[in-house]
């Protein structure tokens, strides 16, 4: 079986498992498991976003927690004003997820545009440091802004609403996260296969050659970075609703690191890499976290093993490397 078919089979298996396990939990009345699967799905959405910048474009953003946090605060602030019946910047609050998601994506996209325009003039370690610096600015801003809880964070008393679903029920919330994840994966697969993806992946490998073919590396990378931030911002809004809480911790640099770890564990640039990676990370946290508080040490060893012996992550290990043939 060739590696492309193997990867599709593996993807279908992962997608099936991520649906089947919470379905079983729903039937068996195990809401904790459902919420765990929902968390995996939302983390995977955030990592799908980062996978556009990091996996396709080779832009190692060490500041994607910024967009996660921005999305989270959009959801938190909208719900806060809706709950208290007050206005923000002349607008009423809302407890509807759809406008919250739209706003989270627009805001994340705008910020990613500014961050990208400034940081994409550099590369390598400088790019990593500038993206980190912007995320830290967001972190300290949220920390010192008392109107929305400052370092205590902002609770969402009633989970925001989605038409036709009762989002307070774990199973409904899972279905929503799963559907959005599948849409994001579809979008990722679509743009990767299209001319934009061909250009972005070429620029990662050889920017000088791309330029000599008439493809401006800066513009393509900037658009990729903005799309990347938008999807991670969407995940942030959903994550805040899942935990019904948003705090500066969502923008901490360790969160940016976790998103990178998810992609490396799953497979850099692979369609289902973020899903596999998020499942491994959350799985480790739950199972080894129950056994020992030093579970991160074991995660670190696994990460070391992946980097040394299985560069393609779980997907690469099981499905072989990518082929851009034809």
């Amino acid at each position: 079986m060739d590696s492309t078919r193997k990867e599709w089979l593996l993807n279908a298996l992962i997608a099936g498992a991520l649906f089947a396990v919470p379905l079983w939990a729903w039937l068996a009345n195990e809401p904790f498991i459902i919420t765990l699967a929902t968390r995996i799905a939302i983390l995977a959405i955030a990592a799908v976003g980062l996978n556009i910048a990091l996996g396709l474009g080779g832009m190692v953003s060490f500041g994607h927690a910024l967009y996660l946090g921005l999305g989270g605060y959009v959801a938190g602030i909208a719900a806060h004003h809706a709950f208290h019946g007050t206005e923000v910047l002349g607008l009423p609050g809302t407890n509807q997820m759809l406008p919250i998601w739209a706003l989270a994506m627009v805001l994340s996209g705008l910020v990613a545009g500014v961050v990208g325009a400034l940081s994409l003039r550099t590369s390598g370690i400088f790019f990593i440091m500038i993206t980190l610096a912007f995320a830290q600015m967001g972190f300290f801003f949220a920390l010192s802004w008392p109107a929305y809880g400052g370092e205590d964070g902002l609770p969402i008393f009633v989970r925001n609403q989605f038409p036709g679903l009762n989002t307070a029920r774990p199973w409904d919330m899972f279905l929503l996260a799963y559907a959005v994840l599948m849409l994001c994966l579809l979008a990722f697969a679509g743009l990767r296969a299209a001319r934009f993806g061909a250009a972005l992946m070429a620029i990662r490998q050889n920017p000088d050659r791309a330029a000599a073919l008439g493809i401006s590396p800066f513009g393509i990378k900037l658009v990729g970075f903005v799309l990347s931030g938008m999807i991670t911002g969407l995940a942030g809004a959903m994550m805040a609703d899942l935990t019904r809480f948003v705090s500066p911790a969502m923008m901490a640099w360790t969160v940016s690191g976790e998103l990178i770890v998810i992609i490396i564990l799953g497979g850099v640039g692979r369609l289902f890499g973020p899903v596999a990676g998020a499942a491994i990370l959350v799985g480790f946290e739950v199972f080894f976290g129950g056994l020992t508080e030093h579970w991160k040490l074991w995660l670190g060893l696994v990460l070391l093993g992946v980097v040394l012996f299985a560069r393609g992550g779980l997907i690469g290990l099981l499905a072989g490397r990518v082929r851009h043939g034809g």
């Binding site: 001319r195 250009a199 791309a210 008439g214």
Partner: protein
């Protein structure tokens, strides 16, 4: 002149005290191969950088079909009609030969901000790339990744990608580098036909190939052009013999 496809006017570029390119003017006419030769360190690579847009000149201008392109970026110059090959093969290593050429066709069309239609279902792009690969003799190797092509095949793929740009002129930076006698012979024949597509500014170390191919030759020494003329004129030029031909390479 109407027949000048590419024209350099008084190009200069210094790195500190070193004048790597010093008041260089030259033209590339329709249908010709204009070779640029010179000993190591003469400033050929700097001049190539100034023409392709990788480097900005301190003084002077670059014109393509009567349009001043001096301020354009590398990518904008490529879209304007400069098709270059690199001295060291510069390909997209994880892409197959076919996808490398498809990327060049995509670059020429200038449609890289398209997010929906898969490139591998774009028959115009695929058949166009296959035709170009067939023309350079890489047809049977279309699905092989660039990283595992042989050195000679990589050189041919470089040319195929320049060809896919349908450029107004070619800039070929040592296309024969590292090719064996047989490969060089084939490439000489191919380049001879290629100049009908568009004129070629050729930087080359292989003197036999240069004297076989070039309609005109310019000799670059310490950043300056000391002579321009036909192969016979260059061979006979005493200044050229003194500073260049008599020293390290012999005719």
């Amino acid at each position: 002149m109407a027949d000048d496809i590419l024209a350099l006017h008084g190009l200069s570029r210094a790195f500190g005290a070193l004048k790597a390119t010093d008041d260089v003017s030259l033209t590339l006419r329709r249908g010709e191969i204009h070779a640029l030769i010179g000993p190591n360190g003469a400033g050929k690579s700097t001049l190539m950088g100034l023409v392709s847009g990788k480097l900005a000149p301190d003084r002077g201008t670059v014109w393509l079909e009567g349009r001043d392109i001096t301020r354009l970026s590398v990518a904008a110059r490529a879209r304007a009609g400069l098709g270059r090959s690199f001295q060291v093969s510069s390909l997209i290593p994880e892409y197959s030969a076919l996808r490398n050429v498809m990327l060049a066709l995509q670059g020429r069309a200038g449609h890289s901000y398209r997010f929906l239609r898969p490139v591998m279902r774009d028959q115009a792009l695929i058949s166009g790339a296959r035709a170009i690969l067939a023309r350079v003799g890489l047809g049977p190797r279309a699905s092989v990744e660039a990283a595992v092509l042989s050195h000679g095949e990589r050189r041919l793929l470089e040319i195929a990608m320049a060809l896919a740009l349908s450029p107004k002129c070619f800039l070929l930076d040592e296309p024969m580098a590292g090719l064996g006698a047989e490969g060089t012979k084939q490439l000489v024949t191919f380049l001879h036909g290629l100049k009908q597509d568009a004129p070629i500014l050729l930087i080359e170390h292989d003197m036999d190939a240069v004297f076989q191919l070039a309609d005109r030759i310019s000799v670059l020494v310490y950043g300056r052009i000391i002579a321009t003329g036909s192969a016979a004129e260059i061979r006979a030029n005493p200044q050229v013999r003194a500073v260049y031909l008599g020293t390290e390479d012999s005719l």
